[in-house]
Structures are given as structure tokens and as C-alpha cells.
């Protein structure tokens, strides 16, 4: 009986919940306060935006919306570690990544407002759009990574998946592809404790979710997903490795979904309040602000200014969203194919004719 392979999963945290540097080493970013401040601002912006989006939904001005409350560090950490030419494959709530990458808040609102134009966003044009069928984005990221590898481009892909989604076969197949083709990519498992009403422990009895990467022999680690420094640093390290031809990494970022799953969900049906209350003590914004303040890099005044700025920008975004031009009915035909097939042209004409009717059957 010989041991033919050994593995372990490490947990990485640089910033404690109370904002102190902990651990064996200090990551570069920890001393780059300007950078941290700008990321902090994006984290706060994301949160202010998020609250606004929820209230828009509550007042009937937005469709179902998936909140990112509590995920700000992992999202902004990912976004800030990536380069523009890299490709991001989101699921549906990683606004923090996207804001860093240039997607506009008004575009996010358009999307959740039931308008495809939101996905034709101002972020990198090569980035993937929001992806509702869980885990399918991971294989897209693998395909994009293979494209880069074949073309010998120094680009990487980053895809995310939830704790729930980490059970789905195509996520696991994507890990396997990354292993088989040695792809330049990083998988981030955003473990926020819940997949709608199903808690993490019901997804698997494995000690960690990171270990799913071991299936393919990929380096697999856990990070504190509420620790901006840890997320940023570890993703960046993994991206450097990937860009360097050393293959993919799986990173489980442990965070917590502080809100409902989406605005269509009511977490009080299945989740104890105490758990949420407790989780708030570990949330990501508090600690990074504390770290900045402890290092005399942030003041109450700056905080107030920031809050004003966020409120203003979010208001602007809402205005932009609300003043979007009317979607013509023809839009549902015009992007089906590069060229409109004959039978569809007929249907398009019919749909358009209904628009002209005074009694508008399509409108109702």
C-alpha cells in the first residue's frame, strides 16, 4: 500500500474581521493605500447601488434582482486582479467585478429591467454576459482560455460559481478541461453559504468546496472572501501563474449572502436571523474601512463625501436607466441571425403591423 498522491487545501486570510493584518506575510496590495481606497470606493458604490436596485424592484420599477450584499470584497477583489484583456465569465450577481471592468450601473439596471440592451455593455466587449443557467459559464471560460492558448495570447479567463453551482457537472467538467488542456484560467467558487434555501452543507459533505479542484489535480485553496486583500492577492497570484503557462487554480472564497437570494425570495422562510446577524460581524466593507482608518488613510469626512458621491452616481444611473429609449418590437427579431431568414421576416412584419394598430393586441 503506497501513497501515490497527496493534496491539501490551505485557508488564506490577510485581514482579520477587525481590520488587522494577520498571517505569515503581507501582500503587496496591503501597502498600496491608493489602490485600496479606490477599491473600497467601488465596494461602497456597489452596495449603495444594490440597495437602490432592491428599492426599485420593490416599487415596481425593476424586475427580479439578485443582490450582491455581502459579496463586495470577493467581487471587487476579482475585478481588480484582472487585466482588461482578460475575460470575465459572471453568473448573475457579480456587479463589483463588472463595475471595476467598466460596466455601467445603468446597464445592470437595464438587464434586470427586462431589456437585452443591458448585456451590450460598456465593459470589455469580450466579457461574457450575465449567465443564468448555473455553471454553464465555466465551460465558456474554459473555451475562451483555450482560444487564448491556441493563439498564444497572454490572456486569462476568470469564471465564478456559487456554492450551489459547485455541485453541477459542467462546473466539474470545466475544471477537468482546465486540467486536461492546462488552461490559463482561474475558477472562483463564491461560497456564500446558501443556494437559495439550500445550505452549503447539503451540497456536499466535503470539508471544503475548493477540493473540487483536486479532482483535476489543480492547485486549490480557500480564501476569506470578505477580505479584500486576500481575494485580490490570491486571484492575482493565480492569474500570474496562469498567464505564465502554469495552468489553472481553484479558489474558494468564503463569504456570506447577507440578503435574500433575489428579490423574489424570502430568506426568512428557511434561514435563522441569528445566522445573518452573526455574519454581519464578518462582512467585508467594515473591515477594509477599519484597516484604512487604522492606517490614517480614511476619515469620517471622506466617508461622508463618498456616500454623497455614491448616492449621486446611483441616481444618475437610475435616470439613465429610466430614460432608455423604448424597445421596438422588431428588436426581438433583428438579433436572431446575422441575416433575417425569410419566414422570420414575415413574422416581424406581422408583429410590426400589430404595433400600428390602434387596438394593440401585443401591448395589452
Amino acid at each position: 500500500m503506497t501513497t501515490v498522491a497527496s493534496f491539501n487545501v490551505k485557508y488564506i486570510q490577510y485581514l482579520s474581521p477587525s481590520g488587522e493584518l494577520v498571517g505569515d506575510s503581507v501582500p503587496d496590495i496591503a501597502k498600496n493605500f491608493d489602490h485600496i481606497k479606490s477599491l473600497y470606493e467601488t465596494m461602497v458604490m456597489t452596495r449603495v447601488f444594490d440597495a437602490k436596485a432592491i428599492s426599485l424592484q420593490r416599487t415596481g420599477k425593476l424586475g427580479t434582482y439578485a443582490s450582491s450584499l455581502g459579496h463586495e470584497a470577493v467581487h471587487v477583489g476579482i475585478g481588480s486582479a484582472m487585466q482588461y484583456e482578460d475575460v470575465f465569465a459572471p453568473s448573475y450577481r457579480e456587479y463589483g467585478v463588472q463595475l471595476v471592468r467598466g460596466v455601467k450601473m445603468s446597464e445592470i439596471l437595464l438587464y434586470w429591467g427586462g431589456d437585452e440592451r443591458g448585456s451590450n455593455f460598456s465593459g470589455p466587449p469580450h466579457d461574457f454576459a450575465w449567465c443564468v443557467p448555473i455553471a454553464t459559464q465555466n465551460t465558456h471560460a474554459a473555451g475562451a482560455a483555450l482560444a487564448f492558448k491556441l493563439r498564444k495570447e497572454a490572456r486569462c479567463t476568470v469564471s465564478v460559481i456559487g456554492d450551489g453551482g459547485s455541485s453541477k457537472g459542467d462546473f466539474l467538467e470545466a475544471i477537468n478541461a482546465a486540467s486536461a488542456f492546462k488552461l490559463p484560467m482561474v475558477f472562483v467558487i463564491i461560497n456564500n453559504g446558501w443556494a437559495i434555501s439550500v445550505p452549503r452543507k447539503k451540497q456536499s459533505s466535503g470539508q471544503t468546496l475548493a477540493q473540487k479542484g483536486i479532482a483535476g489535480g489543480l492547485p486549490s485553496i480557500q480564501v476569506d472572501g470578505n477580505d479584500l486583500l486576500a481575494v485580490h492577492h490570491e486571484i492575482k497570484k493565480a492569474l500570474d501563474k496562469a498567464r505564465n503557462g502554469e495552468g489553472a487554480t481553484v479558489i474558494e472564497a468564503i463569504t456570506y449572502r447577507l440578503g435574500d437570494h433575489t428579490t423574489a425570495d424570502d430568506a426568512s422562510r428557511y434561514r435563522p436571523d441569528e445566522e445573518v446577524e452573526n455574519a454581519k460581524r464578518f462582512e467585508p466593507i467594515l473591515r477594509i474601512r477599519q484597516y484604512l482608518m487604522d492606517n490614517n488613510q480614511w476619515s469620517v469626512q471622506q466617508e461622508n463625501q463618498l456616500m454623497d458621491k455614491c448616492a449621486l452616481r446611483v441616481e444618475q444611473a437610475v435616470k439613465e436607466y429610466q430614460s432608455a429609449s423604448k424597445l421596438p418590437v422588431t428588436d426581438m427579431f433583428d438579433y436572431m441571425y446575422a441575416e433575417l431568414p425569410h419566414d422570420l421576416a414575415e413574422q416581424r412584419a406581422f408583429a410590426l403591423s400589430l404595433e400600428d394598430n390602434t387596438v394593440n393586441g401585443g401591448e395589452k
Binding site: 424586475g63 427580479t64 448573475y92 438587464y111 434586470w112 429591467g113 427586462g114 431589456d115 437585452e116 450575465w130 443564468v132 443557467p133 448555473i134 456559487g162 450551489g164 453551482g165 455541485s167 453541477k168 457537472g169 459542467d170 443556494a195 437559495i196 434555501s197 439550500v198 447539503k202 451540497q203 456536499s204 423574489a264 425570495d265 422562510r269 428557511y270 424597445l327 418590437v329 428588436d331 426581438m332 427579431f333 436572431m336 419566414d343 422570420l344 413574422q347 416581424r348 408583429a351 400589430l354 394598430n357 387596438v359 394593440n360 393586441g361 401585443g362 401591448e363 395589452k364
Partner: protein, 326 residues
């Protein structure tokens, strides 16, 4: 005996069978303590326990495959696909195994399972939550595809589906989940899985539909009545196997037919019904068979979804067009 909505009728049927048949097991994502994202399994986990109403990991291929495995070993699993748009990872299991197990093993192993899925548009849901792809399954021999359109029919058809010794895909039009209430008696009486329901008698035209479009079709029939046109309305309900005879019988009487469905038109259940008429009903037809369907496009996000879906207006247009013919 109480007035309940269609989604409550689904719960009621599930509860009835969980109570009466110890082999029935409900499983899926969020079907447990949360009671399903539409509350179709509400209260069941609390009532029957975690061994009868099972929250699964998020993995549809696994849910379907385990459902097949359980069914072959004597259970009667009722699995939920959270939305029909997420059923694709289940395809391989449904088409290659559930539908084939009896035939493959000459009856040695069978698959008395149900897969339930809410479907259809009109509730401002996100992408992939609103499609109607019943025809993909209807094209699969060995599978029953059942679509209720009222609380009473949901209750009776779901009971029948669970008790049926073969696999049944049970598609629940979620736009009408809470449309209206009906008195549903929890008497365990099932409805047949091989018959259309005639919802309204008429002589001038036959309107054939199913699922959520029953609503618009009945409304159209009401309006036609005020024009002096008497429309027969048929709720297909079991789109596979299909009771074509009832439809043919009706068209024999009326000579005209409009088929109304939410799904895209190309290669759909509506196509099959029209094809059946073009063959066995040709000599009854006074006028072309019209289909009022979703356009052959991707179900748009919700800003345009209403314009995608067949409306009363569009039904009336189609009817009036062929009523002109004589």
C-alpha cells in the same frame, strides 16, 4: 373542500399521494423547507419529513438520474425542475433512460416517475425562466407530457401522473398558478391522461389550446360569442400521447380550426395538430388551419415578452380571417 389556486392544487395532489402511497418521494432544489420557489411544495417537508421531501444539491442531471434510479427500484419519485429553462441537463436522463427503461428491459425495469416544471412567460421573470418547450419532450416516445390549465385539472392530472406506471413530464403554466380559484375536492380522484378536455361547446370554429393560453382562448371565445360566432374550445392537456380524435371530431363539426400555443411555432405541438388535420381532417376543413403561436424567436426579456405571447387580439385576428372563408 376549498377554493384553491392551481399551485395550491399541485401541493394538494402531492400531499394526497405522499399521504396515501409510502413510495412517493418529492425531490428537487428548494422543495424542502422553502416549499419550492413557487410554493408548490409548501408545507410538505414539514408534514412528511426530510426523507419524503428532499432538498437536493444543485445538479439537474443528477436529480433526473437519481429519479430514474429510484423509480427503477420501486419508489415513485416526483422531481421538480425549478424552471423548465433549467431542465436541459435532465434531457439525457429523460430521453435516454426514463422514457426507454420499460422498452429496453422488456418491462423488467420501469420508471414510474414524474418530473414537474413550472414554465411559460408573462410573469416578468429573468432570462430562461419563460420558455415553452413542451414539443421537445412530446417528440420523445415513451414519455407522457401533461399540462394542466386549472386547479381542478392540476389536481386530477397530477394524481394520475404520479400513479401512472410510466414517466410523466408535468408542466405547470406558472402565469396561471394563481390566476383564479376553484373548489377542489381532495378525494383522490384522478383525471384521464389520454383525453382532451372540451371546455366550451361551439359550432363555427374549433379553438385548440393548452396551458396558460386556455385563458386567452376562452376570453377570445367569449368575444366571438358577442360577434355571433360560436367557438368550441378544447384544452389538449395531454400533449403526448395526444388525443387527436377529439380534435378531429370537433373540426368535423366546425370545419375550422385555430391552434393557440405560447411556444414558438416551428416544429411544435401546434404543428402536430395542424398536420393531423391536414391528413385525417382535410375533408372537414373549410378554411386554412391557423396557428397563433409565439414568434420563432428567443423569448425576449420581459420588456417585450407580452408582445411575444399570443394575445386575445391575435386569436381574434386569426379566427376572423378564416371565418371570412366559406
Amino acid at each position: 373542500m376549498s377554493n384553491i389556486t392551481m399551485v395550491e392544487a399541485v401541493s394538494l395532489a402531492l400531499s394526497h399521494e405522499l399521504e396515501n402511497d409510502k413510495d412517493v418521494v418529492v425531490l428537487g432544489e428548494d422543495v424542502g423547507i422553502n416549499g419550492g420557489v413557487f410554493r408548490a411544495t409548501s408545507g410538505l417537508a414539514q408534514k412528511f419529513g426530510e426523507n419524503r421531501v428532499i432538498d437536493t444539491p444543485l445538479a439537474e442531471a443528477m436529480i433526473a438520474g437519481m429519479t430514474v434510479g429510484m423509480a427503477t427500484q420501486g419508489l415513485k419519485p416526483v422531481a421538480e425542475a425549478q424552471f423548465l429553462g433549467f431542465i436541459f441537463p435532465m434531457f439525457e436522463q429523460i430521453v435516454c433512460h426514463a422514457a426507454r427503461m420499460r422498452n429496453r428491459t422488456r418491462g423488467r425495469l420501469t420508471c414510474p416517475l414524474v418530473i414537474r416544471a413550472p414554465f411559460g412567460g408573462g410573469i416578468h421573470a429573468p432570462e430562461h425562466h419563460s420558455e415553452s418547450i413542451e414539443s421537445m419532450f412530446a417528440h420523445t416516445p415513451g414519455l407522457r407530457v401533461v399540462i394542466p390549465s386549472s386547479p381542478t385539472r392540476a389536481y386530477g392530472l397530477l394524481l394520475a401522473a404520479i400513479r401512472d406506471p410510466d414517466p410523466v413530464l408535468f408542466l405547470e403554466p406558472k402565469r396561471i398558478y394563481r390566476l383564479n380559484k376553484e373548489e377542489v375536492i381532495d378525494d383522490g380522484e384522478e383525471l384521464p391522461l389520454d383525453m382532451c378536455f372540451e371546455l366550451r361547446e361551439g359550432n363555427d370554429i374549433t379553438l385548440v389550446t393548452w396551458g396558460s393560453m386556455v385563458k386567452e382562448t376562452l376570453e377570445a371565445a367569449d368575444q366571438l360569442a358577442t360577434q355571433g360566432i360560436s367557438a368550441e374550445v378544447i384544452d389538449v392537456a395531454t400533449v403526448s400521447p395526444l388525443d387527436m380524435d377529439t380534435i378531429l371530431e370537433s373540426v368535423k363539426k366546425t370545419g375550422r380550426c385555430v391552434i393557440i400555443q405560447e411556444a414558438v411555432q416551428h416544429c411544435s405541438v401546434g404543428s402536430e395538430i395542424a398536420a393531423g388535420l391536414a391528413d385525417k381532417g382535410l375533408y372537414s376543413l373549410i378554411a386554412p388551419v391557423k396557428r397563433v403561436s409565439g414568434y420563432d424567436v428567443i423569448m425576449p426579456l420581459f420588456k417585450l415578452e407580452k408582445k411575444y405571447m399570443p394575445s386575445v387580439e391575435r386569436i381574434l385576428m386569426a379566427v376572423n380571417k378564416i371565418m371570412e372563408v366559406s
